[in-house]
């Protein structure tokens, strides 16, 4: 993983807890470095160790840490200057997800060491999408859940996301996204 990911984890811990907690997690994960370089590639183990250490230190399941991280990722990358690329992906979740592989293939040019996942969007209906997520990495589905919820928030769309099948079953993870009418729009419609 690029250091950008690990820095985002640090940012999540520091912003929701404090620096002391981060240092404890870092030490627990056996990391020598106090910080990461965004553009440097680190072994995946570093990220997994961080998540495990955070789970132990905060007494929170690793899945919850990953979910929170997924949501935080959208906020973090936007704040760290990647917003223009994010918006380049599209104006809605569907558009964004449909262009995600294209985006990733272009990201790979800038970040050749990245091992990026693949996403396939199946439009079941206007309000129902199925997202297939394929990755060589294990156990990151909770993070995708967080990413989807984070994206929905970012695009101001009300999607109900559900993890419907796991990699262990089909070789990939599937997520169901159902668009629900937001309270605001319902109110407007009623009006």
């Amino acid at each position: 993983m690029y250091g950008l990911v690990n820095r985002a984890i640090k940012d999540l811990i520091v912003s929701t807890r404090n620096t002391d907690t981060w240092n404890k997690i870092r030490e627990k994960a056996g990391l020598v470095e106090e910080d990461f370089l965004d553009s440097a590639s680190y072994p995946d183990k570093v990220t997994y160790d961080l998540v495990t250490a955070a789970s132990e230190e905060l007494n929170v399941p690793a899945e919850k840490i990953l979910y929170d991280f997924g949501r935080h990722w959208i906020l973090y990358t936007g704040r760290e200057g990647w917003a223009s690329l994010f918006y380049l992906g599209g104006d809605s979740i569907q558009e964004f997800l449909e262009g995600l592989d294209s985006m990733h293939s272009r990201v790979q040019i800038a970040m050749p060491n990245s091992n990026l996942p693949q996403f396939k969007v199946i439009e079941k209906s206007d309000n129902h999408l199925v997202l297939e997520y394929r990755s060589t990495r294990e156990g990151l589905a909770p993070m995708v859940m967080g990413l989807l919820d984070g994206m929905a928030e970012k695009f101001n769309e009300a999607w109900v996301v559900e993890h419907v099948s796991k990699k262990a079953d089909k070789g990939f993870d599937s997520f169901s996204l159902e668009l629900v009418e937001s309270e605001e729009s319902s109110t407007s419609a009623a009006a």
């Binding site: 370089l37 553009s39 990647w82 380049l88 992906g89 599209g90 262009g99 985006m103 800038a110």
Partner: protein, 593 residues
Amino acid sequence: MHPALNLPVKVVETLFPWHILIDNSNSQLVLSLGSSLIELLQKHEAVPGCWNDFEVKRPTIDALSHSNIQNHLESPFIIAVKDTAITLRGQILLTECGNFLFLGSLLVESSDSFDKTGAVLRQFAPFDLSPEMLMLHRFREVQLRDQLRKVDELKEVEAARLASDEHANSDALTGIANRRGFWRDGEALLESRNPKEDLYILLFDLERFKATNDKYGHAVGDKVLLTVAERLNTKVADHGIAARLGGDEFVALVSLSCDISVPRWIQNLGDFIRRPAASLKQGLPIDCSIGVTTVASNQTLDDAVQAADYAMYEGRKSGPNSITWDSHVLQLRRKQQHLLCSDLKNAIDDSEIYPVFQPLVDLSDNNLIGFEALARWHHPELGMILPLTFIEVAERSGLLPSLDQHILEKALDCLALWHSQGKPYTMHINVSAPSLQTNLAEIVELALSTRDLDGKYLILELTETSFLEHSIETRELLQAITKLGVRLELDDFGTGYSSLTHLHDFPVSGIKIDRSFVAEAHKSRRAELLLRSIMSIAENLGLDTVGEGIENLEQLELLQEIGCLYGQGYLFGKPSTMDSCEVLEFLALQKAA
């Protein structure tokens, strides 16, 4: 030949569904990039008269006229979109129908360019590399930021390292270099030595510094060290480096021009250091001995410092405030000592060093009462080594305590044997100053108990310099020793700095009057008076007295007359091995009779 494409308009429209045709007077230019460019141009109200929004950067032409384009068909074109950070980069091709076709891509020059365009990824043509350019651009920004962070981190690490290095290489008290710093900077100075100058090592040792500490306290002692360091640094800074090696020892490595009188420069430096300091108590002297050596071109810093140290040490023997230069004689002596040093430890372990015994007699009846154990070294190759020589070697190599203990053990072995033969002699054994920094009381106690000897038969002889170095700790140690029943005698009495003080401060039970007084007393009235005065003091203090160096009957009779209790000297017998002592015993009996 200009490149030409046979592309009818319909084909162009098919291949490039997103293109724009710019009517350029007598020719048309098709710009094809994808919808993003269309939107961009529309935003700039590009059609008609859109060229107002563009600026041709390359090639250097005024405007995109038909002839200009035709003359540069093989050139890459860089066309800037005015008021944006976007440029079009590509090549213009001539189509069969006489139109120009621009094929190329957008180039963004800042990562927020697309925020302004509002374009999304799917709007870019597949061959349009501008999104990649945007990502690369962004990634370069990240890399640059990382590099800056790395630089900052490296600066912090470097600053911490420098601070740590400075701390590790400086003397905490005086602020000048310490031993480590001296070696670091000294080696560098040696490597970059000025061929027109000579390098000198100066080694400084303060006289009686420990006595100053004891008498005036460590705060005053520290002020002395600070004063010396400051003065030394002031004078040396322009010529080299000064350092405190530890304790009261300082060193300087200086590069001095061959044109000046170096001995005078060093003399002036010594005088400057010794000047009374206003910050110190009135009358507190700063005395120091200086050893000097010229650093030869092939000499190591370590060797040069050792040479200067040796010279300083030799100079101290002749008195305080000496300046002693390393010499050929000293070098030979140092070399000999160096060789002996490596043999000395084995010599102690292998009992090449052994005690000889010189008799002591009761001057009231000339009866033999005991012996003083004296160390001798018979080197397997060099033969007998003079005691002064190997004791100095032992002192320099830190082996004096081992040597003392070795002689103690061996002498007590003999004493135990004599006692077992019904001869209750006493044994006088010399103890050096460094031994007073060891667990001497325990060593003595164990040595006595393992041989079932009573402490009252052992007399330890101490020199006054032993007391000078360690007052409080020494007093406690000596008290522990006297609790064993062991007696203490002050050796070479009268030759030290403040003998009377020591008689008062330390638990000594006797004095050995230095041979210089005994030698002169029967010849000089003044010396005799001095001897009588010493005897009077000792008598009043209830101290035993031993006259050393009695070589003739006149000396013996005088000592007997003035009431000296015991005597020692060639008149009674030279130092001998235990076997030969039987002869001494016989002779003593004869004399007593």
